[in-house]
Amino acid sequence: MNNYFLTGMISILMLSVFGQTQKIEFEEFTLDNGLNVILHEDKTTPIVAVTILYHVGSKNEQADRTGFAHFFEHLLFEGSQNIERGEFDKYVERNGGTLNANTSQDRTFYYEIFTSNNLELGLWLESERLLHAKVENIGIETQREVVKEEKRQRVDNQPYGTFMEEAFKRLYKEHPYNWVPIGSMEHLDAAQEEDYVKFYQTFYVPANATLSIAGDIDIKEAKALINKYFSSIPKGQAINLYRDFIMMDEAAFQTKYEISKSIFNQENFFATTSKEGKAAIKKYENTPTIIPRPTAKEPALQKETVDVIYDNIQLPGVFMAYHSPAQNTKDAYALEMLNSLLAGGSSSRMNKNIVEKKELAVAAFSFNFPLEDPGMALVAGIASKDVTVEELQNALDEEIVRVQTELVTKEEFQKVKNQFENNFYSSNSSVAGIAESLANNHVYYGDANLINDQLKMYENITREDLMAVAKKYFKKDARVILHYLPKDSAE
């Protein structure tokens, strides 16, 4: 196996319309340039989801250039070498499709969904984005303004909208989870075109991407098309040699590479026949791209920090944040079940006791941010009218102490297990969702097949595990508490 490296190969079962619920079958392989590909065939509806996940999120940013990963999510709709500015989404709409993207601390995810006859169009669009997107000032200027509007609307103008930013910056001092994907507008203003180009060249390379396609496809045909659009994307640093070749003038190119642009085919870089040209390409193909990943380990919190945040809100809120385990650990599964016990569904402890019985809160939450490295667990509530933050906090703490000191009853534990079983079977209802789950599982857990196996992880958790994680993570002397108060009360 040279060019194709198969990491997983599963025979395709015939899909029977009236058969038992199917396991999600998929094929997975890696192209020579490092692009990971996952294909899932489901012909129930003649639509296809073309998705690509780049393993870059805000945690890969420099501390003085935050917001870059999310900014790229915007910038990469601006166009490419062959797609005029503003045309990217028109190709999709004109063909009856829909598209979007999102960014987390760990990854950036793009997708298109359309009728299955547009598979090739989707692959072309994504190959343009990967190979030679336009990373230049005009697009940067436009998207900077759009991102600022987005921050105003979704963070600043949203009641309690800053809690994530405020909590993470107090929980993490060493690790880049210190900041959140929306990042700093000042950093975006300060950044120069070359900063953006460098980011693109570092993280937008095939070896850092997973192409996941689900829906009405013919696997063989899909492979041929993927091969057509993606196999010729250069591996290693050769992709950046090409990008610089089209973007840089001769002098800049010479300075960087110590060779002249003239040794390459001027019309079509990929049709270069000169000996030196081919040698240069070869050399850079063999220079791997190193993707910087944060290695910082955050020391445990040593005390309880309480801060007050004044916001445009009507009702005070209490947000209690703790360090949580990384998502691919047994502790993470146990903690998720604990969250469900506390706040999942109308019969959950916090809803029954704090919201309905004591009427201390209009809503109460307990959840984890599922992140690749240890992240955040949050227990929170929005106070009812005339309830103080102390009263609410005491009630939340009471529930936490209870799970730390009393073993959950068998019946209540079974309820939580049943809820997870229901969630598991509810999660893969669309081809777009399946494509995304497969890609996430591959990237974060190194196992796309977790889409079929994840339930087992929860089945292995015991009641004792729940109590253990409650003690281990919900520590009173190692947490950050934010009291959100109406801005008016500060006057």
Binding site: M1, N2, N3, Y4, F18, G19, T21, Q22, D42, T45, P46, I47, N82, I83, E93, R94, N95, G96, T98, F114, T115, S116, N117, E120, L121, W124, S127, D216, I219, N227, K228, S231, S232, P234, F270, V308, I309, N312, Q314, G344, G345, S347, K352, D386, T388, V389, Q414, K415, N418, F420, N422, S426, N428, S429, S430, H483, P486, D488, S489, A490
Partner: protein
């Protein structure tokens, strides 16, 4: 799949790497796939209940939805009754308390929901029996406990409060009330109508409408026909009785000419414009697909529509402008809407009207027709992924008597829509001279929008869409100066004005220290005020010894500083206008500033609040308007309300003054409770010292 194929692809990829692939042009899509819409199973039980089944085994889940088909009725003084039914049906049964229902539902990870005409349950297939048991209990035995009724009513009441401040709810209330008078679609719940609803009303509604006759049971998911038949017969066939309520209604109100309807939102910086009119069309009508194409390209979503291109992309007057067609069994209407800055409110209405004219006069372009048809076809195809869509299609076919292939042929009909069709439906349904032009916004825009009303008389509605009554005050023979003079005499305890004035002028300086507690917050603030005649003033607020906020004016200039989150202070200086205001109004009592003759003020009359009567004086300074309330018995000021327009929108501040105590003969309120939005600050005076020496530095930042 075998190795052989892989090797071939490998060889192919080796030759094509760095090959001659032409990336310059987008690949053309292949032949459009055939869109097959699965046929649901439909069968009827002996009691007449129709069952629609859409099987889908992708997930081991199943859902049951009971849909009751009584027509809505006019609720009148109990408007909103049906909105409460859904939540209350789940509030307890003769066998189970609400807690038990919640617990048992969560135990199997099920969803149980209800609306005014439906009960829905979904769960894993293996818990189907248990899920159905809960659903049936709620269906047959709901007993509406009084305490749940009270809790839900209380919760709904606070929901109505927020509707009062939301301009979009206000606009939508005005639309439904204006387009559908005396019609179930035109009813809006108010605080008064909520009060009129009793538990017995809810019980009666449930008994009359949650009945088998005319009802559909829609089953979706991992269940086969035989099992569905077995369960439906077992659980629903013996359920009998009832007659669905039937009624027919008018098809909405067409104004004879364009009319402007205004809803005031004090202090608004944006106007919500919503132009709406009824359409005489029923679900299933052959024009519907053509009409939806017309709406899509007019303003039905996306950036490429006419409204978006004109009002956002070209004029940049709005973040978004949209149109919609709403075609329901009870009635149909068209609406086009957006939010616009005050200054461009009239220009925006002009552009809306122009777009209405254009779409009814000229053929649309080929490009916009094709783009929008393609986009609609794609979204139809994507919607088919959900088995629920298939079931809803079947339900719609039955409820609206559509031909059985209505949805099967949807794409074909869509593809056949021409430019001429679009023009024809636009001419038929859009009546650019019979529009309801609804504007929710600031009083200042009224004058400019009157020209769009055919007879120039604007209709005014309140936040719930009812005729607005202007606030009225009782007349009084007292004159505005007399009120203030009496107030001065009251606070100084003098019987003669001259003596009162003398007493006030004697006060040359003041130091006041107050303790301030925000309700609901665990903190106590200290607010210190210094005053030196005639108009030097400084106010600072300290939290735990740190200055959180300070505002000063030294007679000539001034400014403020506010602590920011990094612990430093943001400083801002007073504008020239603000300095002019301070010079006049920074007197010991603001009323002394009013008497200076430099500020306009009026006596609105007498208002009654909490069984007490007050003289109400109103004055406007800069961006803020204040109403001050003086007790008619003793002329003491007991309340003031200030509406201030800030950069962040309008803000209401209400202050209540009580516990008047004399300091050197002058009465000062020692308790002040201030409400800003929903936040309440309680202030208590700790000390007031008059005619003390004040360090000039106190008036510096």
């Amino acid at each position: 799949m075998n190795k052989y194929i892989i090797i071939i692809t490998v060889a192919f990829s080796a030759t094509s790497a760095f090959g001659q692939l032409d990336r310059t042009n987008a690949p053309k899509p292949g032949a459009a796939p055939e869109i097959n819409i699965a046929e649901p199973e439909v069968f009827e039980l002996d009691n007449g209940l129709k069952v629609i089944l859409s099987s889908n085994h992708r997930q081991p889940k199943v859902s049951f939805n009971l849909v009751f088909t009584s027509d809505p009725s006019i609720e009148g003084e109990k408007a909103g009754l049906s909105n409460l039914v859904g939540e209350l049906v789940l509030g307890g049964t003769t066998d189970r308390s609400k807690d038990q229902i919640d617990n048992e539902k969560d135990f199997i990870g099920a969803t149980l929901a209800a609306g005014s005409n439906s009960i829905f349950m979904s769960c894993l297939t293996k818990h189907m029996d248990k899920g159905l048991d809960l659903m049936l209990d709620v269906l047959h035995n709901a007993n509406f406990p009084q305490e749940e009724f009270d809790r839900v009513k209380k919760q709904t009441e606070s929901g109505l409060l927020s509707a009062k401040t939301d301009p979009n709810s206000m606009a939508s209330n005005a639309v439904t009330k204006s387009v559908f008078p005396n019609h179930p679609l035109g009813e809006v719940m108010t605080e008064a109508s909520l009060k009129n609803i009793s538990r017995e009303d809810i019980v009666a509604y449930y008994k009359a409408r949650f009945i088998p006759a005319g009802t559909y049971l829609v089953i979706v998911g991992d269940i086969k026909l035989e099992k569905a038949k077995e369960l439906a017969n077992k659980h629903f066939a013996s359920w009998e009785g009832g007659v669905p309520y039937e009624a027919s209604y008018n098809s909405g109100y067409f104004p004879e000419n364009n009319r402007v309807i205004f809803v005031e939102k004090p202090g608004a910086v944006q106007s919500v414009i919503n132009i709406a009119f009824p359409m005489d069309i029923k679900p299933g009508h052959e024009d519907i697909i053509k009409l939806s194409v017309m709406n899509k390209l007019f303003g039905g979503g996306g950036f490429g529509t006419r409204l978006m291109q004109n009002l956002r992309e070209d004029k940049a007057w709005t973040y978004g402008a949209y149109s919609s067609t709403n075609i329901e069994r009870e009635g149909a209407w068209f609406s086009a809407a957006g939010s616009f800055r005050n200054e461009v409110t009239d220009s925006a209405i002009y552009e809306f009207l122009l777009e209405f004219e254009n779409i009814t006069k000229e053929l649309v372009t080929d490009e916009e027709l094709e783009l929008n048809k393609a986009s609609m076809a794609g979204s139809f195809a994507r919607s088919l992924e959900s088995p629920r869509t298939i079931a809803n299609f079947a339900l719609s076919i039955y409820r609206n008597n559509l031909p059985s292939d209505y949805y099967q042929t949807y794409l074909k009909k869509l593809a056949a829509v021409t430019k001429e069709d679009v023009l024809a439906v636009a001419k038929k349904y859009i009546t650019p001279k019979n529009l309801n032009i609804i504007v929710v916004g600031n009083e200042e825009v009224v004058e400019k929008i009157a020209r769009f009303d055919a007879d120039g008389v604007i209709v005014r509605l309140d936040e719930f869409g009812n005729p607005a009554s202007m606030k009225t005050y009782k007349e009084t023979s007292m004159d505005k100066n007399e009120v203030l003079n009496n107030y001065f005499m009251a606070v100084t305890g003098q019987k003669k004005l001259a003596k009162a004035e003398k007493a006030l002028v004697k006060i040359t300086s003041m130091e006041q220290i107050m303790s301030v507690k925000p309700q609901g917050a665990p903190i106590e603030l200290t607010m210190t005020t210094y005053f030196e005649a005639p108009n030097k003033r400084s106010t600072s607020i300290e939290v735990m010894g740190m200055v959180a906020q300070k505002e000063v004016f030294d007679g000539e200039k001034g400014g403020s500083k506010t602590m920011n989150q990094s612990g430093g202070h943001d400083i801002s200086e007073l504008s020239p206008e603000e300095m002019d205001e301070k010079k006049i109004m920074n007197t010991l009592l603001p009323e002394m500033g009013l008497m200076s003759g430099k500020v306009e003020y009026t006596l609105l009359g007498i208002d009654e609040l909490n069984e007490k009567e007050y003289y109400v004086i109103e004055y406007t300074i800069g961006q803020s308007t204040t109403k001050a309330y003086y007790n008619t018995d003793n002329f003491m000021k007991e309340m003031s309300e200030t509406l201030e327009v800030t950069e962040e929108g309008p803000q209401n501040v209400t202050a209540k003054y009580s516990d008047y105590k004399a300091v050197k003969g002058i009465s000062f309120p020692h308790k002040i409770s201030q409400m800003v939005g929903s936040a309440v600050l309680d202030a208590t005076v700790k000390e007031i010292n008059l005619n003390v020496k004040i360090d000039p530095k106190k008036f510096e930042l």
